[in-house]
Assembly symmetry: D2
């Protein structure tokens, strides 16, 4: 079985990137990161000192003065070159993403493609959506103009599960709009985050425009609290997100906090299961369940329940696990041993609550060379009830709960009231009225109609509500409202 | 001297308006409010019990279910009728506003007109700006739709200085977009807030759509903390605004916190003082200085200083004080005795710091019948230095500081760095390059070019930055981002 | 049987309205117009002299100079007052519309309501959609601003079938945007057009802003050819529209030419006929078929044909004819004797071609007092084939053709290729995939899904294609592109 | 003196590009085209047969079926690749443009850069501006959606003076929006047009999406008249444009006809001539005057006249003529001998009318090897009067008229009333009020403030009015209104 080549087997000690230079942290604290398919170490990353974080912010602040004044046409050319560099390094980025994170190569390619679309969307936004407004003679001899001005330095905090896509959901937009950034990636995938900055370095951004620090939660408070930081773009858990939103409230700053989820898929009796089942596999097990848009609960309406359950279990059981650089693999490992353990705990909790495990992925069979990998197979709970904890919280692993309900209204009620999240929900039906009722009534940010992963394309914001989102602006094209503020000019001709 | 007639001489005990009904608070706690021109009591207002506040929220929450589902065409007709009712009651509203708040009748008329424009802007927004988006075939057989959905109940907290305009900066927009509200007005102007709800009652909104509670800061925390309240629209001081933003951060809610200001006016040597001076009077003394867009510091560039000072002092000294219902009056009283005292303290502070009082409005001459009114005349400090407290904080009264600086760059530096506010700044010049440099470089939300009060019209947001604003959405037409959230629908044809 | 009261029994000699004054044409040529329910004369209207038309244009041109310069806030207040006046005269306008045109009172009320929505939409557009754009620092020290400027005088030519709605699709927008107009209504409904101008007069528009001339096609070429006329908004037949578009091409002017239609309704086998049939009645017979969005051909897919035909014929046969001022009447008369004759000719043509008349409305029974009215009852052809002339051209009367086809693709092929029109098409189905395929594949401007009359609301343009539309801007909110042109300002700071 | 290398010395017989293939015209009619700097032949181009034009349209029509259905994300990737290919071939395109057209290499580089910006703007538009709209629950259970659908095949007719920029003002937008094109370039610059298609071929567009035919005016009527052609994008002379607009009117099609110009520059007494004069040189002589935005008339207000004239003449006289591939050259030749002759005729006309030639560029000195080139030097007329023909019509060569006027109002009056064009006008002033009055009052599409060439960037439309423009949509980002039409979908949930 041929694997795609790894870019390197070990990436050494990762450096931080501040003010256009790479350098080692003076903290001396380095931690190891592993390839989740093998458990082998692939790099070490530093924990930044507070003063290093501050230096990054100050570099960004200094760079901001010229970057914001740079003419739009010229600034956008950097973003276009960023797109070209991502195309040029496409394969390499995808392979490192697999090596660092664990997903399949196809999933990795999808992530890089989505990230390129974010870069494109940032260019488009800067040319069109970010245009200001002007009204002449609004009152006698008075004209008014509105411009969007970049606010300054932003902290961008990315999660381990989508290290590239999360970066791309904020950074290209911030830069296109004239802001500068300090990126603090989650420490579980430090290699790919490093590589993104190597690509950015090739683009030749002015020093300080984009900076990279390592340390994760240990340094994020320092970063966000720096008085020059105007706000934060965050993707991560609800618990951490809430803390951050509180901090931001105290500091009087801005935030786009994208947090956890508990996503439901409803299958109506009229749905075609030949279409439904393959789409469910990607939704429940894609990125091994480590995905804010991944599905958690499968709701079968009425008698479709038995047939749907049978086919979903069968198809799930057939999925091929392994190292994502093997093109034939359908399910990669969890990203870290801890992430795997949390899912095992989740499963145990379900068993303790009395749910029935009808597909058990806890001890998947794998080739010997992956014996130390953090693998979990598709896992399905039946006989769940709404009051169970596993029906309310996310597993963030390849775990599905299946439940039968009698009506669409019951399902909508469960989606809206059984969890405090509000990220996404999907329905499979060919009935136009079911589809309308569902999309209007579910209180979530993203709705899928015959699509299980309700992921909007880059030039739409990613919706999100309730405990899945805190802040005034969503990610992507909506970041115009995060990174800039309006200035209104009132002119009187006398 | 003929005054316009007061609508009533005393308005009795004001009631609260909850779920479409008027009723007395069961708290039994009532406080007196006075006509600021005479010091005479004109009404009593209650301090609501927490359970009354909660009842208001619950009424709003219940009303939300039908209000959000109401077809757009029908819902907007309520807002159009609201506009008609405001036109119908125009004079009466203006006169009560004078009686309750103290401004001149011309200023009151301006406020009602601006409020009507907000109502119009809310209608316009609902028909156009609030349109969702749709892209067909974004991917193979996949379409995407974005809709703006109303979020639910909002707390609207209005200040004593602009009780109608602040109401109009949020409430018509919230209602047009399908949200419901609980309004908690500042207690210094309870009568006009009451009257607005009488007008709204005439419109015939469904019960619970808009509710009124009294109690000010004593009840606002209860209101904002109610779990059904989705967020808050606030206009008031920076101190209270910061507390509120912190609370909102803890609660994970949304906010548009419009706070204090320290506004500068720069006069370049090329400016025509015949034009400048009359505009300065309105800017520094309009609404007796109780205005977030009111001017605080007059910066004369170079040799224009002496002439400008002389003419500004002369014109200021000539302003006629009195009861605003007298059409000839140019300056009304402060709204409350406390507000007057705070300005006196501010002036004393300036004297203590060594500033020179070249126009002293502390003991203005008035007719006997206004002897107990809360009057202050135009007051001007000269010989101020940037480090003085009075050059950093707002007086919120008819107090000007005048300072000479040598260059536009110096002035911009003062504006950007000598105060932590970022609300507005103006320049008087006929030079196109000065104007561009000024508008681009000042770090404030609203910029005036040859206009001292840089107040945008309703269908622009009111800009604001730094300690003058906290949140993700500005008031007025920008409240689309406060009151609604996006939902993105991804549909796959199979 | 009680009728609503007529506003007047005879309106005398109608005057023209030019430069803010009413006056008689000096042509001396007057023609009679009748109440279509009774055939009785209700007014006389003049045929304007060319010099009178020119005078109207010159008045409009003169008025344009001040109207375009009027501050936006003030100009829009006229449009708001226009809305109020329409509300105030709502009943009276509806009744005159019935008397002049023949429709039912409910249809007339719908038209006035739609017209008010156009007025509202014009206000909304002026405040939001008509905002210009501004980009700062697009190149080094260069800013760009785009404004929409009104172009001048426009000719508005309205048809006899929707005299109010057509007026409202152009005039409020033109005025809101700063243009001035000369309206030339079709001569078959001159009374209601006159009344609209009486309402406008009450609003108090400055003289010359809106002018009314009579004469129809005899004067339209004169009007459009006047060098001061910038373009034309037209609703009428394809034949006249094409001529006009050709003239406009020769003259180098602008146009929005909204022309004829041949509209299809497809009923899929899964549709619920209890829902479908009542909606079909309004679609095929509403305004007695004199409606560009009215349906012409009913396509039944597969076996639903027999049942659908039976129920449609039965329901059609039961419709109550009579004078529209009788609230119980469901179908009014044709507007003129000629219009009625054209429909009779259409029916005869169908018979000659071999189509089978399964419901014959040519000689409906009516009370004696309506014996001279221009009535026609619902008429249905079966056994039609695509090659028949009646399947390609519009009847503009209450005539339906029903045809069975075997697949949705066949139906779409007929809609796209059997007629040169491209106005609207509808489908009845509950299947989400049928609905998507239909809306994407039919080459028409307006698509109905389970709605037979695919009429968008005012703040959407009315779509239209192929021989149903000529020009660069549609009516309503799209008229921004008709009445204004962009000006781009490039400013360089040196 | 070193020249940049020519790409080839002779390009042979140019082929046409139809349905993804290159081939010779069967007409057998070939014409020669020359290098304007030397008069040497550099290629031959064919005159297409009508059936070849038709074949191109039919290829485009066939390609349209799939191209319009292609998912947006995928279609836009072609346009991104087009941008990359333009970057890759940047130098080569610039050099061929010099060789074929005659401008300086710097001017050529500017044109290619502007063209790349159009490609970028097309991508941005497709992602943002071309989004449709959606409103839920507009009426009870009724939703409405608006989509922009591509219309089909468009004829793109480009002029000899801006063969690349004109192509880029239409083609990338048409393709991005899902339309297909047949391009008919002016025959004076056939080589560069050919090269653009070679670049497009490298991108790998599906066959038929973009087609190239030669023949210019001889074939354009055939092209536009083909029933499958939906409309035309044209840049060229007013005379030809008018004919085309008339044809389009007869045919009932769409058009964006961008025609001639007579552009004025006003210099106010307060302007800094050190800034003004260098900008005037580019404005009057850039592209040897062959530019729709090029300046024609220099209006000096008051006493600045003498000094401005002196300095303008001196600077003009110093310009270096020669072959554009010489980097030191400031002024290239006219494109063709005929174009040169037309300018000579224009100059003669001016002399005949009594204007005074104060700088005569008719017989410029050049090196021998350019003796057969079509050179003209800067030419300036003084003592002109508004009634002269040369003050009303464009020279389309390096010819300036200078005139003194006493006030800004006089200048505006001349600009608005002395010519029937309405393309652009500029003012040099530092006075904010002059600038506002000028930009508001001049009746042209593009206004320059301290910039002589008022050329908006790609993501603004190019404004234009009166006899300078005919149609409903401008070029560039405004072509959304040319290439697509709205479809409105009304859905009723029952």
């Amino acid at each position: 079985m041929a694997l795609l080549p790894e870019v390197k087997s070990h990436y050494g000690r990762l450096k931080m990137y501040i003010d256009g230079e790479w350098f080692d942290s003076e903290s001396g604290v380095y931690r190891e990161t592993t390839n989740p398919a093998t458990g082998e170490p692939i790099a070490e990353y530093p924990i930044a000192l507070p003063e290093e974080v501050n230096r990054a912010v100050e570099a960004a602040e200094k760079a901001f003065e010229e970057w914001k004044e740079m003419e739009l046409r010229r600034r956008i050319q950097y973003i276009y070159r960023l797109r070209e560099k991502f195309e040029e390094h496409f394969d390499e980025l995808a392979r490192i993403l697999v090596q660092d994170h664990g997903r399949t190569i196809e999933e990795a390619r999808g992530s890089i493609r989505r990230s390129i679309e974010n870069i494109e969307s940032a260019c488009a936004m800067a040319y069109t959506v970010a245009k200001g407004e002007h009204v002449d003679q609004i009152a006698r001899n008075i004209d008014e103009t509105l411009v969007y001005e970049p606010l300054g330095v932003f902290a961008i905090i990315t999660p381990y599960n989508i290290p590239v896509h999360a970066w791309s959901s904020f950074v290209p937009y911030a830069l296109a709009l004239g802001c500068t950034v300090v990126v603090s990636p989650a420490t579980a995938c430090p290699v790919i985050s490093n590589w993104i900055f190597k690509v950015m370095e090739e683009v030749g951004f002015p020093p300080g425009v984009a900076n990279l620090v390592y340390g994760g939660r240990e340094i994020n408070k320092t970063l966000v609290s720096h008085p020059s930081v105007q706000g934060v773009g965050f993707i991560g858990s609800t618990r951490v997100g809430r803390e951050l939103y509180k901090l931001v409230g105290e500091l009087g700053k801005r935030a786009s906090i994208n947090a956890g989820a508990k996503n439901h898929v409803v299958v109506m009796p009229d749905a075609d299961l030949d279409v439904v089942v393959p789409r469910l596999l990607r939704a429940f097990y894609g990125m091994t369940g480590q995905r804010c848009l991944g599905s958690d609960v499968l709701i079968a309406i009425g008698d479709v329940y038995e047939e749907l359950k049978r086919r979903f279990v069968e198809a799930s059981a057939r999925m091929k696990l392994g190292y994502g650089l093997d093109e034939s693999v359908e399910l990669g490992p969890m990203t870290t041993a801890q992430a795997r353990q949390r899912v095992l705990d989740f499963i145990q909790k379900g068993l303790d609550e009395g749910a029935k495990l009808i597909l058990d992925g806890r001890n998947p069979k794998l080739e010997d060379r992956y014996a130390k990998g953090y693998f979990l197979g598709p896992t399905i709970f039946d006989e769940v009830t709404p009051d169970m904890w596993i029906m309310k919280e996310e597993s963030f692993g390849p775990v599905a709960c299946i439940i039968r309900m009698e009506s669409l209204d019951d399902a909508i009620d469960l989606i809206n009231n059984n969890t405090y999240y509000g990220h996404s929900a999907s329905i499979f039906t060919t009935n136009i009225n079911y589809a309308r009722d569902f999309r209007r009534k579910v209180n979530v940010g993203n709705v899928g109609i015959n699509v299980a992963i309700a992921q909007p394309y880059a030039f739409f914001p990613l919706g999100s509500r309730k405990a899945s989102f805190f802040g005034g602006a969503h990610s992507r094209i909506d970041t115009l409202r995060l990174f800039t503020d309006v200035k209104i000019i009132v002119s009187w001709r006398y």
